[in-house]
């Protein structure tokens, strides 16, 4: 499948940046350093990222699903995995979102301390989200919790949610994580007993998977956050979902723990879509923060099999590189 299908706008060179912006306004892009120009690039790149993410799964996720399909011994489970793989191909072919639930739009921004117009990024991401709602299209998924009214454009108070990180340099790296509702509904956070240590975490994760059952559209990816505090544990758990499935944890002890938990949760027998089998979870991605002596926070962030993410870097010279959905 050609990953470039339908993305004449996905670009790597400065020359092609003009292609992506052709439908907007060439002149604006050329005004390097002006507020209008830079935020327009951010908007266009963010729009492309949302589009890429909801239509194309990252290669590492596809590989994991293919491997699971080849190895699954449950008939019902295999049928589900085959349907998942067929659906992935069809979404690419017909340029349509893999799943009708295109999620809550979450951004992770690594902003170079010397990058220009950082104060304009938020507005650009808002605009990109609204545009994607109409043009991709993605399902309107932002609802006011008091009036129950859907904004209709995937934006609202604090949504899309933006996670900021300031890094050295002049580049801006942007990642989008469209987070589906089914898997989000079974995410859990707990204040465990410090005396139980890692053993408590293992039980917490296994119990969460068994309780979730078919609900989060397994096979899932689990982000596990340990330590920090109640909010920090979930934040790092969710961020851990961004780690590619074929990249091992750099910490060998944590890599070992990930493997141990992965084997354990795949012994539950829940299987693809909860119909039985040995593929319940594709990957366990752990991250941690130091904890308070009296506290042992832990969090499990579930992602469905449609584990969607897309990343791009806007370099200081305004060239753009798409880092997950490679296009030539």
């Amino acid at each position: 499948m050609d990953p470039n299908l339908g993305f004449p706008t996905t670009i790597r060179t400065k020359h092609k940046v003009r292609v992506i912006s052709a439908s907007i306004d060439h002149k604006l892009i050329k005004k390097r350093g002006t507020l209008v120009g830079t935020s327009n690039i951010v908007e266009n790149v963010a729009f492309n990222l949302i589009k890429q993410a909801v239509i194309y799964l990252p290669e590492d996720v596809k590989q994991a699903l293919r491997k699971a399909c080849a190895e699954e011994t449950s008939e019902a489970g295999k049928t589900q995995l085959k349907a998942i793989l067929d659906n992935i191909d069809l979404a690419e072919k017909y340029q349509a979102p893999i799943c009708q639930d295109t999620g809550t739009i979450i951004f992770y921004i690594k902003a170079g301390a010397k990058a220009k117009d950082l104060d304009k990024i938020e507005e650009a991401l808002m605009k990109a989200t609204k545009r994607a709602t109409v043009e991709v299209p993605i399902r309107p998924n932002a609802v006011n919790p008091f009036t129950q009214k859907n904004s209709g454009d995937n934006t609202g108070r604090l949504i899309p949610w933006i996670n900021w990180e300031i890094v050295p340099g002049e580049d801006i790296e942007m990642t989008v994580l469209p987070k589906g509702g089914g898997a989000e509904n079974v995410c859990v956070m707990g204040m465990l007993v410090p005396g139980e240590g890692i053993t408590g975490v293992k039980k917490f994760v296994v119990d969460a998977v068994m309780k979730a059952g078919a609900k989060p559209c397994p096979p899932n990816i689990l982000g596990v956050g340990i330590g920090g505090g109640s909010d920090i544990a979930m934040k790092i758990a969710k961020k851990a979902l961004l780690r590619p499935l074929n990249v091992p944890n750099p910490d060998p002890e944590m890599a070992k723990l990930e493997k141990e938990i992965l084997e354990a949760v795949n012994m539950t027998g829940i299987g693809p879509m909860g119909l039985g089998g040995k593929t319940t979870v594709l990957s366990v991605n752990i991250d941690y923060a130091y904890r308070h002596p009296a506290s042992y926070p832990a969090a499990v962030a579930f992602n469905c099999w449609a584990s969607r993410r897309a990343t791009a870097r806007i370099n200081a010279d305004e060239t753009v590189e798409y880092l997950i959905h490679k296009v030539e």
Partner: protein, 201 residues
Amino acid sequence: MAVYKFKTPMSEEEIRKLKVNDVLYVSGTMFTARDQAHKRALEYFKRGKTLPLNLEGLTVFHCGPIVKKKDDRWIIVAAGPTTSTRMEIFEDEFIKNFKVRVIIGKGGMGKRTTEAMAKYGAVYGAFTGGAAILAARAIKSVKSVEWLDLGMPEAMWILEVEEFGPLTVAIDSHGNNLFMEVQKNVEENKEIIYHKLGLSP
């Protein structure tokens, strides 16, 4: 495991052939119904009011599709299944009163539905959650839409489908429920897993 291809209207006799783990593809008329459409249909029945469509032998799809209107035609953009357990409170009466034969959704259904399926002859076909394009491709046309006042997701979309599937028969008409079996299995495996991880229950 056997593979079956059925066409609506389906008879009780046909449905009784299916066993859990079989794979089913359905063609013909399918209609979507979520919480609100189930509720309204049952209210109509109670009051002796005729439904917009005779549901006997048809397929129900637990789905709130994304639909767009092009000129005068409705087009299904994406149509993945929704969580079926929400319809558990309606489905036994629905099967009994309307003689629907195949119910499609995700996540499975409970005891009440399983018993109704055994009694009146219906099956639950699990469709892959998130496989919205696979579903949309099998939908050939929108025949009509009823009860649009309930909103796009909750309305009753009457669809012409061709080999809609694969559906894993997860509840058959003989009292078997694959999801409940898996759940039982998970409970049994819990002890083994705890032991392996050195945990106390």
